[in-house]
Amino acid sequence: MASTSSTTGGFEYAPAPESRSIVDIKPSYGLFVDGDFVDGQGSSFKTINPATEETLAEVAEASEADVDLAVRAARRAFRGWSRMSGRERAKYLFRIARIIQERGRELAVLESIDNGKPIKESRDVDVPIVAAHFFYYAGWADKLEYAGLGANPRPLGVAGQVIPWNFPLLMLAWKVAPALACGNTVVLKPAETTPLTALLFAEICQQADLPPGVVNIVTGAGATGQAIVAHPDVDKVAFTGSTEVGKAIARTVAGSDKRVTLELGGKAANIVFDDAPIDQAVEGIVSGIFFNQGHVCCAGSRLLVQESVADEVLARLKRRMGTLRVGDPLDKNTDIGAINSSEQLARIRELSDVGEAEGAERWAPACDLPSSGFWFPPTVFTGVTQAHRIAREEVFGPVLSVLTFRTPAEAVEKANNTPYGLSAGVWTEKGSRILHMASQLRAGVVWANTFNKFDPASPFGGFKESGYGREGGRQGLAAYLQGGDL
């Protein structure tokens, strides 16, 4: 693979690859059902390294019958798990948290290989927050009656959980930790392009001696996910992914008693006022859209910059983009890794081409991209109007659309002019304006003078078509308890 790119404003770096020898990838993987790895009854599919296109492993594609077995195992385990004292359940979660820390480097390297994200992100963001999530919810397991969700909080039963490929292990943690803490058992499906860390997590459950059936992991694609969502013995559906699939899930569960949490798409506005600390704002814009290759549902994909500082912000943004290093995800100096799949790359290319065709001006720094694998340079579009597709649709890639505004009211109007409502950013030195904007923005998470911060204690989730329910914090418990009133 080519070393990290040489770019206009950057330093030359020698390659600094993280060793992948810490990870032992098996040639093939079965399903994790009832505490054991078993062969699936369906076919199998390949998972590849998106940075090299090499095949990493053959993974079982769970059939409807496989899903049924997993749900049955979860149902059998529910009786014991839900009746176990919270204090004892907590200890299992603490064990899992500790093993995640102990095997943190292995998890980070495997995540970067399977997903394409830079090792500095999987190592410093994903895996530490994963462990923190299990620690946080472990502590809740024996304190549920103090959560303000009723005097006798009861779990829901079997949770069916379907997660995306952008933060494979982190989304697993967001789903599994609160479910288990509340006494539910789970059947989880990782995304078809990123199953490997979930399967390693299954091994971690074995190492923790978690009772069989409490966590079941079934790999597969959309049909497998649909089988989980539609299974009559699933009491709770938790999904993170596209708004389109989220709507399909809402239709599927209609008329049932299933409880649902949906974390869907976004088109967040990142609003920069003329009094903002420009250098900090530029860092926030960069992390807002280029973190994780822009494969982030809450990405700050629409930059709204006040007209009076637009030229200055753009000039500094372009200079900063020129220093971003695109390349080998395992290189410790890499800022932007590989696009997760050829399908996603095609979508990013298509929408970017549409952006140009509709009249927006495209710019990307000079960038040597590796010859194999899936890559897209950090890209900014200026001259974008609210009607442009790149201002309305989720690109889910390192592509920023820039719009301008004159007054705070105009910024609010433009920011809220989207069917989505997941997140928003505000940059200004004026405290009263921050609080005004925070109250006006129809979004579930507002980052003021920061962006893309995540913490297990901090509830996360959307307004409008970004979904419903919250994950994280005390609110995240409500989604897994009967009568959870939050």
Partner: protein
């Protein structure tokens, strides 16, 4: 010849945007008392009335949600005051609609007024009960608090014409939402009288819009309306197929759904938080801490 005075009868109309229009369709339907005797013609709301009501509600949402919680609580209390003043009228309406005894009708009205007072007090307390500060692992101020979901469609219960109605409307508006309500089809008259109370209780026009008509006809338009943020399906309790089709329609823009119960609940029970929390969004705000 004894001069007997002829009653001046009331025309029962819709309540949209603070005004009392007839149905745009020009249609009305016969409302009878519990024994089947004609009482009045009620306006039969149409799809276009739903549309007009949603427009009025959306217009009212910004200012209503921006009111202080204290002020919203004051206004809900004011509704209770005005209703208390008109208790004999409501008792008669409930007795006539539901066939209740005078004592039972009085109990319903008492409970409805008391429920408004109960909800009025929640206005400035809910955020303290269901919101929280979040101790994140970093130098950040971080808190989470509820905000209204927006325009809420409310299919009001079919049996409990007043207490049930008040019990589904109050939680929606006290949290800062605005409502488009479809009243009980067979027992709509207490809802129209309630609208007259709203109109004289400092509730801004458009915050509550009340349509008399058929939930089975109007529900699909409300559930599928792209500018409706949430819907309470209580009014189709006992019709699971209809409830399912409304939930499917709501999925097109991820309208939040409060599912219909199997049967109308006991409205005299204390409601708990669920009727309010079904129609709020939790918003989390981060800011760095530094010098």
């Amino acid at each position: 010849m004894a001069a007997s005075r002829i009653d001046v009868r009331k025309t029962y109309k819709l309540y949209i945007g603070g005004a009392f229009p007839r149905s745009e369709s020009g249609h009305s339907y016969e409302v009878t008392d519990s024994k089947g005797r004609f009482v009045a013609n009620a306006a039969l709301a149409s799809r276009k009335d739903v549309r007009d009501a949603v427009v009025a509600a959306r217009k009212a949402f910004g200012p209503w949600s921006a009111r202080t919680a204290y002020n919203r609580g004051q206004i809900l209390y004011r509704i209770a005051e005005v209703m208390e003043d008109r208790r004999p009228q409501f008792e008669e309406a409930v007795r006539q609609s539901e066939g209740a005894s005078a004592a039972a009708a009085r109990a319903q009205v008492d409970a409805a007024v008391d429920r408004l007072v109960w909800y009025a007090g929640w206005a400035d307390k809910l955020a303290q009960v269901i919101g929280n500060a979040n101790p994140v692992a970093g130098p950040f101020f971080n808190h989470t608090a509820p905000e209204p979901t927006g325009v809420v469609g409310v299919l009001a219960p079919q049996s409990s014409s007043l207490l049930g109605l008040v019990s589904v409307v109050a939680p929606v508006i006290v949290t800062g939402n605005v409502a488009v309500v479809v009243s009980s089809y067979a027992r709509p008259l207490p809802a129209v009288t309630f609208a007259e109370v709203l109109a004289t209780s400092d509730v801004p026009g458009g915050v509550v819009n009340i349509l008399t008509g058929d939930a089975a006809v109007l529900g699909p338009w409300l559930a599928s309306h792209m500018d409706v943020n949430a819907i309470d399906l209580c009014g189709v309790a006992g019709s699971p197929d209809l409830a399912t089709s409304l939930e499917v329609a709501a999925a097109d823009n991820l309208t939040r759904v409060r599912r219909a119960p199997d049967a109308e609940p006991d409205w005299s029970a204390e409601p708990g938080l669920a009727p309010m929390t079904a129609f709020v969004e939790q918003k989390t705000v981060w800011h760095p801490i530094g010098i």
